[in-house]
């Protein structure tokens, strides 16, 4: 009987050990598949920024996260195709780094909606992507860096160059902006400035505009953040430098690439808010009740290292107001 007792005890011990280990095995959280979708060509910068923010906010989630990234290279058809495939693959959530990607992901949903978290520089409420900022619904949430700053951009460029009377405005006129451009026009009229709109819906249109600037006789230019201007920012900067047209850009990336001035929401804050949304959706499985956050911090940057910066005669007022001056 003794060997049998030993065997039974050993078996019981192993069973208890297995049962004791079971909770750890079951408790080990399953990996979370996060599919990233972008309209631009492959660029790991945004994903890297998201990882960084996620690491600060929820490192445990980052450990579980399994990222995939798809880039449409500004091909709308490819974008929709990628969005469709993503929905069929049914990841735990889809992160879209721009509005078009978010729109494509929502538009190509199958029967069961995969939660979508977006980062956009558009007004998602005005463009119909969400129901409200507080409760976006449709299993969609995200962050937007968009604020209606067209009027502010005009003011800043006007204050920077008090002599400027003709100011051109590059923007995507095809996207609904909630009357933001109209506010800018009204403000320009009050300031006695002529605001000339240049509708740049795509790169070709942008090139045409850029070619036309030589003869447009604009004193300054406001470059809004559109897909085309973002993609062709260096071309724009180079062209404006060549034409010696001072410009204020809507995006820090323009100044980083040599632009003269920029006024926009801080991108770092946007990725942090995006990471919070991703963490929430990943843990709760739903996105519709998580509010869409709007930019909170804005920055006016003056790049005195930009071409012809010294010749433009920027006003002292703008230099006092600048949050950051690159010298």
């Amino acid at each position: 009987m003794a060997p049998l007792s030993v065997t039974q005890s050993r078996r019981a011990f192993c069973a208890r050990l297995a049962l004791g280990a079971l909770p750890f095995g079951l408790g080990a959280e399953a990996p979370i598949s996060i599919a990233c979708l972008s309209s631009p060509p492959p660029d790991e910068a945004m994903l890297t920024a998201l990882r960084g923010a996620l690491r600060r906010i929820d490192p445990a989630l980052l450990g579980r996260a399994r990222f995939t990234a798809d880039f449409a290279s500004f091909d709308p058809v490819r974008l929709r195709r990628l969005a469709y495939d993503l929905n069929r693959r049914r990841p735990d959530l889809i992160v879209c780094f721009d509005f078009d990607a978010a729109h494509a992901a929502v538009a190509t949903r199958t029967a069961t909606a995969v939660p979508v978290v977006f980062r956009a520089h558009d007004d998602p409420l005005a463009r119909g992507l969400i129901a409200s900022y507080a409760r976006p619904g449709r299993n969609v949430t995200g962050v937007t860096t968009y604020r209606c700053i067209d009027e502010k951009l005009v003011e800043l460029v006007a204050d920077s160059l008090p002599a400027a009377r003709r100011i051109g405005f590059l923007h995507d006129g095809s996207a609904p902006d909630g009357g933001c451009n109209e506010l800018a026009h009204r403000y320009a009229r009050r300031r006695g400035v002529t605001l000339i709109d240049y509708n740049v819906t795509d790169a070709a249109r942008l090139r045409t505009v850029l070619d036309a600037l030589e003869t447009a006789r604009v004193d300054a230019l406001v470059v809004g953040a559109t897909a085309a201007t973002w993609r062709m920012r260096k071309t724009i900067i180079a062209r404006l430098d060549a034409l010696a047209i001072p410009a204020i850009y809507e995006g820090k990336v323009f100044v980083d690439d040599g632009g003269l001035m920029q006024f926009s929401a801080l991108p770092d804050d946007a990725f942090e808010r995006l990471a919070r949304a991703v963490a929430y959706v990943a843990r709760h499985g739903t996105a519709g009740d998580f509010p869409v956050s709007q930019p909170m911090r804005f920055e006016l940057t003056v790049n005195l290292k930009a071409g012809h910066a010294g010749r433009y005669g920027l006003s002292a007022n703008i230099l006092r107001r600048a949050d950051r001056i690159l010298e």
Binding site: S132, C148, K152, F290, P291, V292, N317, R321
Partner: protein, 788 residues
């Protein structure tokens, strides 16, 4: 015995209960005190933290207020408002304080002169057409009243909270600077307020809107906490006391609040209850562990202690058990020095005493056993002897039984013989007696008369002899039935005198019968026979002298005596004279004096009646025989006495009598006797013969005389019935029989009388006269035993 209630278990339970209850009470008290202390500690901590958070929020707002005064430096009393400077300062303020999203300056006239926004275009107004901003009127009024005023919290795009803050410039008619504060910027301040590991702070305005929270997404949802009791009724209204409740996530928390002056917000600081009471929980867990350990230790100690307490008792119990089982040599060893040891000693003493008593008892038992064995051997020896005697007795009894059977067979043979003889011999003797009687009536010659008289005497002797034999036979066969009556001795003695006087005279002796008036209760026929035999015997053995018969009262009895002066009986013969056929062989005794049956009949008859017979005799002097009779004191008596033969003849003269007798001699004798008595007689051997004879007569018979057995199986009783049927009337009937066992009187038909053969002429005439003269009666007269 219910071992579940053993002493050990009781001790164990009591000790465990005491120890565990003590530990439990101590742990509970410690837990209560700990909880109270922990609550006080958490309360103090949360209240301090809430006050600290309030200060920090206040500080956040104060910085803005202070910064705004810088802008208003350009609105000095008595000086012109420098809007450009105000604008520049406003921009600087926006750059310095990111929480301010817009600034507006309203001059002393109520005109909004300047608006500077972070994302909107600046606006400067010359107030050509001044109009006060109606939306801000209340805020401006409050600002003018208090210097600083806060508007309500608003949510831009229904999501982003903000508040308007108004600061009044110095001077009586100074302007007001309005700042729109983006309350999301408080987030940095809020998340900097940490309480413990998981505690945090949040802000609620007076409309219970969540203004600031570490989770900014909750703020952006524009949540109203009006339905949260923790917020509405709990912390905010009770002066900052710590309360326990559920938070937004439903978790149990401790919360305390402080009001932020200015905007009148409530800053809540909350701490998860689990964390707040973690020291208490840890203390409870530790207390539980200690309790468990203490219980285990107490159980072990209690078990050991109980065992130590019970062990001596169990030893005493085991020892007592062994003693009860008979092991008196066992001893209980307990060295506890207490009452249990004394008890063990007492048990040991008891065992010793029991052992001694047991040994003594065993000796006594052994001794008694030896005695019993000895007695038993004697009893067995005696039993053997008894068995031998019993065997011998059984043998003797068997022999006796054999002898008795032989005697009984002999007696039965004798009885059968006598019965046969009584019928077969009495029948001719009966006929001879009747014939001799006829012959005696017809003698004409003297010389013949003497011969006939001798024949008569001989016949009488034969009748007497046969009568005695039959009497003995009937007595031995228990055929005689006793009929007790009240008997007057006087007529009986007169009858004796009458019957035996002739015999005494003939023998030349004197028979004297003394008159007696005594009345006794006995069977008169049997008594008559006893007395007759005694008198007959006395006369027979008395040659000279006197035979005296009389009676004497003796208390309740009457002694009837027969005295004679005869030859007497020797002493050696006195015991045998009552045996049948015993005769004393003496020369003095006559040789021809009977068969020796008289006294045998007397003895049997006396025994049958239950009387006492006395005898005294002396050879040569005579004998005295006495019978003690029960005396009857009351009542009258009725005795049948023999009638006068002459009167009987007179009564029978002319009577018509039918006689049925199968024996020819007896029938002819009967016919002749009845004819001689003057009767008219028809006689036949059978019923048919008599019936034929009666057919020739017109007269119905006055009497039927018939034998009981008519031959060929015919019955006299049946013949009587037939003749009565023929005559259509109850003709009286006389039945004669020689059977030793005649039918019972109750078996006889009505008006019938039965006489035993032999029947003498006188007895016959008497019976016939009685039946003929008696009127027809419904009842059969009681037949008396026929005396001879």
């Amino acid at each position: 015995m219910n071992l579940g209630n053993s002493l050990f278990r009781k001790y164990l339970l009591v000790l465990l209960t005491v120890v565990c209850s003590t530990l439990l009470a101590a742990s509970a008290a410690q837990a209560i005190l700990g909880a109270r202390a922990q609550w006080d500690s958490a309360d103090a901590l949360l209240r301090a933290e809430s006050r600290s958070a309030g200060v920090r929020i206040r500080s956040f707002l104060s910085i803005i207020e202070t910064s705004m005064t810088w802008v208003l430096d350009y609105d000095q009393p008595g000086a012109r408002v420098d809007l450009d400077q105000i604008r520049d300062e406003s921009h600087r303020l926006l750059r310095k304080l990111p929480s301010i999203s817009a600034l507006r300056y309203v001059d002393g006239t109520g005109c909004m002169r300047l608006s500077v926004a972070r994302v909107g275009a600046d606006r400067v107004s010359d107030c050509a057409t001044p109009h006060p901003p109606s939306d801000d009127a209340a805020l401006l009024a409050a600002a003018h009243a208090h210097g600083v005023a806060y508007g309500p919290v608003r949510f831009r795009d229904a999501s982003i909270p903000s508040i308007d803050l108004a600061v009044v410039a110095r001077g009586r008619h100074g302007g007001v600077l309005l700042a729109e504060v983006d309350l999301r910027q408080i987030h940095a301040t809020i998340i900097g307020i940490r309480v413990g590991a998981a505690g945090y702070a949040y802000i609620v305005d007076r409309q219970w809107h969540l203004v600031a929270h570490p989770d900014n997404s909750l703020v952006l949802r524009n949540l109203g906490l009006g339905s949260l009791p923790l917020v509405t009724g709990g912390a905010a209204e009770n002066g900052g006391r710590t309360v326990l409740g559920r938070d937004l996530a439903g978790a149990l928390v401790l919360a305390s609040s402080t009001m932020v002056t200015g905007p009148d917000w409530y800053v809540f600081v909350q701490l998860p209850a689990a964390q707040a009471f973690s020291p208490l929980i840890a203390q409870l867990v530790l207390g539980l562990v200690i309790f468990v350990v203490a219980v285990v230790a107490a159980t072990t100690a209690s078990r050991r202690l109980a065992r130590r307490m019970v062990q001596p008792i169990l030893a005493v119990q085991a020892g007592a058990g062994r003693m009860a089982g008979g092991d008196l040599a066992t001893r209980i060893h307990v060295n506890t020095g207490d009452e249990v040891e004394l008890l063990a000693h007492e048990f040991n003493h008891m065992a010793e005493a029991l052992s001694e008593s047991y040994a003594l008892l065993e000796d006594k038992v052994r001794l008694r056993t030896l005695e019993l064995e000895l007695t038993g051997s004697q009893v067995r020896h005696q039993a053997d002897q008894l068995a031998a005697l019993n065997a011998e007795l059984s043998l003797r009894l068997a022999e006796l039984s054999l002898r008795r059977d032989e005697a009984e067979r002999a007696s039965a043979a004798k009885t059968r013989f006598l019965a046969a003889a009584s019928h077969d011999l009495l029948q001719p003797l009966h006929a001879v007696g009747l014939l001799v009687g006829i012959l005696r009536q017809r003698i004409r010659y003297p010389e013949v008369r003497d011969l006939v008289l001798k024949v008569v005497a001989t016949v009488r002797g034969m009748e007497s002899l046969f009568g005695s034999l039959l009497d003995v036979s009937k007595l031995d066969s228990n055929a005689v039935k006793v009929d007790l009556q009240v008997v007057d001795l006087r007529p009986l003695l007169e009858f004796i005198d009458l019957n035996f006087q002739p015999l005494a005279v003939e023998k030349g002796i004197r028979l004297r019968v003394a008159p007696c008036r005594c009345i006794v209760r006995t069977d008169p026929a049997l008594l008559e026979r006893i007395v007759a035999n005694l008198v007959s015997n006395a006369i027979r053995y008395t040659e000279s002298g006197t035979v005296l018969v009389g009676c004497r009262r003796a208390g309740d009895s009457v002694r009837l005596l027969v005295y004679d002066t005869g030859i007497g009986i020797a002493q050696q013969h006195q015991a045998q004279i009552f045996e049948e056929f015993y005769q004393v062989e003496e020369s003095t005794r006559p040789r021809d004096k009977g068969l020796g049956l008289g006294l045998a009949i007397v003895r049997r008859t006396v025994d049958l009646l239950g009387l006492t017979l006395h005898m005294r005799s002396q050879p040569g002097a005579g004998s005295i025989f006495g019978i003690s009779l029960p005396r009857h004191r009351h009542g009258g008596l009725a005795l049948d006495s023999p009638g006068n033969p002459a009167a009987h003849h007179e009564q029978l003269r002319g009577a018509f009598i039918a006689v049925m007798e199968d024996d020819t001699d007896a029938r002819e004798a009967l016919e002749q006797l009845l004819l001689a008595a003057g009767c008219h007689v028809v006689a036949g051997a059978s019923l048919d013969a008599v019936r034929a004879l009666l057919g020739g007569h017109l007269r119905t018979p006055d009497l039927i005389v018939t034998d009981l057995r008519l031959g060929h199986g015919a019955s006299g009783i049946d013949a009587i019935a037939a003749i009565r049927t023929l005559c259509d009337g109850p003709v009286p009937a006389l039945i004669l029989t020689g059977d030793a066992r005649p039918p019972a009187p109750s078996a006889l038909p009505a008006h019938c009388q039965l006489l035993r053969k032999p029947v003498g002429p006188s007895r016959l005439f008497e019976a016939c006269a009685g039946l003929v003269s008696a009127p027809a009666r419904d009842e059969t007269p009681s037949p008396a035993f026929p005396p001879r």
